[in-house]
Symmetry: C2
Subunit: 332 residues, 2 copies
Amino acid sequence: MSDWRYDVLGLGNAIVDVIARAEEDFLIREKLHKGSMTLIDEARALGLYDVMGSGTVISGGSAANTIVGLASFGAKAAFIGKVRADDPGHAFAHDIKAMGVHYPTAPAKDGPATARCFVLVTPDGERTMNTYLGACQNLTPDDVDEATVQASAITYLEGYLWDPPAAKQAFLKAATIAHAAGRKVALTLSDSFCVDRYRDEFLDLIRKKTVDIVFANQHELCSLYQTADFESAVVALRSEDLLGVVTCSEDGSLVVTRDETHAVAAFPIQQLVDTTGAGDLYAAGFLAGLTRSADYVTCARLGGLAAAEVIQHYGARPQANLRDLATECGMI
Amino acid sequence: MSDWRYDVLGLGNAIVDVIARAEEDFLIREKLHKGSMTLIDEARALGLYDVMGSGTVISGGSAANTIVGLASFGAKAAFIGKVRADDPGHAFAHDIKAMGVHYPTAPAKDGPATARCFVLVTPDGERTMNTYLGACQNLTPDDVDEATVQASAITYLEGYLWDPPAAKQAFLKAATIAHAAGRKVALTLSDSFCVDRYRDEFLDLIRKKTVDIVFANQHELCSLYQTADFESAVVALRSEDLLGVVTCSEDGSLVVTRDETHAVAAFPIQQLVDTTGAGDLYAAGFLAGLTRSADYVTCARLGGLAAAEVIQHYGARPQANLRDLATECGMI
């Protein structure tokens, strides 16, 4: 079966971001690990919110950001992720549906509140994330709609799904259904500390061919192979014999297969404002290219374009129409 | 008594903005009056939210934006305005307190939800506002803390307070307390349609010296004096014998007293993104100058600087530290 209804289905934590500017000394005072994502409980979430600055609230979630980016590129997209039926949950659902994304997941009627990520952006544009998973802990295999997975050319999964206990089973169920339907499965390693928490399981997903495409940044890749030497990490990735896509911030990205490695420069920016969503939107651009059967270099350039758009403003959702942007740049 | 604890106390509607980009044809389809503020009921609020695009949520409210701007300039500021004890209400209180503003108003435990303003920003940067007043309708004279008003050099009131029934009495109570304590009272006319709704009462406030300072843009001033001729509206304002401050968008602003009129150019900008809060932040800069005993021209330049900052990004709250910005520009 080669026909499908959705180009990409995303499965991930459904999160609302609360973004605030913060000085370096605030991160130190609050013992926050700059540039990474830390899981926090409800008490810490309330405490951190009390001391952080004035916030801007924008829907987020890694895979959700990627899916919204794909929709902005004009791709047919769907998303599975759990919110609670509360104010932020309604906002998350509104925002993703407003982008034309199919979002079939029923909100939890009770239990923990919709997930919040407190994103602290330092003057250098780097973001430090603190996530209260809340309702994401209620995502189960029952939320994985078989028909939607079968109808999606690519199912895109985030490594963060290893954090909420039941979500891992939902991830594996989706991957199994996708492959049974002859579809592709993509994984993003999400965060170097996330890789550190689940290294063996992630390597298993790669080596047992549970995933066909892997997205990572250089820190995540080095963490995966427990090396400080990026070059050797890339060699290790190549030996896995799948499609590997590695982002290197301002140094652009690498597309790695068993037979070839393509290095593509980053898209130029005028001003770095907030790196939140850079990796998510890169994946959106790359996958948008794949769904259009573009060559890997074009896919990587589309990824760079989308990442460049999102890091020049606050929030991890695109503010421009990415398809128009790509057309203006002559990429599609 | 010449000593005080607060430079400026603001009294206004406590509103959370939901900002979304919209095309011109969306405004036409939804019968929205571009550039103005329209009051909507809860049903219309829900209906409009359903059809509008992905939103960014940022605390707003005209006088509240001005007060936060003053705090960003380093002024001692306080605010009185009503939210409900719900998610957006907590966010509004968090955001204004995070700026160091004294905010003594108790949230309503029940009744309508915290006010929302759906701000639709067209590609030209113009904003069209649709406000559901919600909990603002529960602001009463009891919320006006006498000690706080007496302790404030200037009490700043928004014309929008004429919309929620009881707020008008709170406005008049605050003005009476302020004058009894030898303080100044300022009014912003808020919106040309608001002026149209309450023209006679606003003229009464001016002519009975209930207010000492009036902020208006050219449309509001022309509406106040029911003339299409801006020049004659300025002549009429001068004859009122108070301090009049008139903003004229990219043409800068005018400071009008009985004896003199100063025209001050607008502060240059690189890119107009969203005009939301331009007037609010202009007032913040102007009042910040007054509280520093600056001359009127310097006050107007500080107003232009703050307005220029806020229209170059989404949302009506400053993203930069305005005191640092004014220092860099050699204005203070």
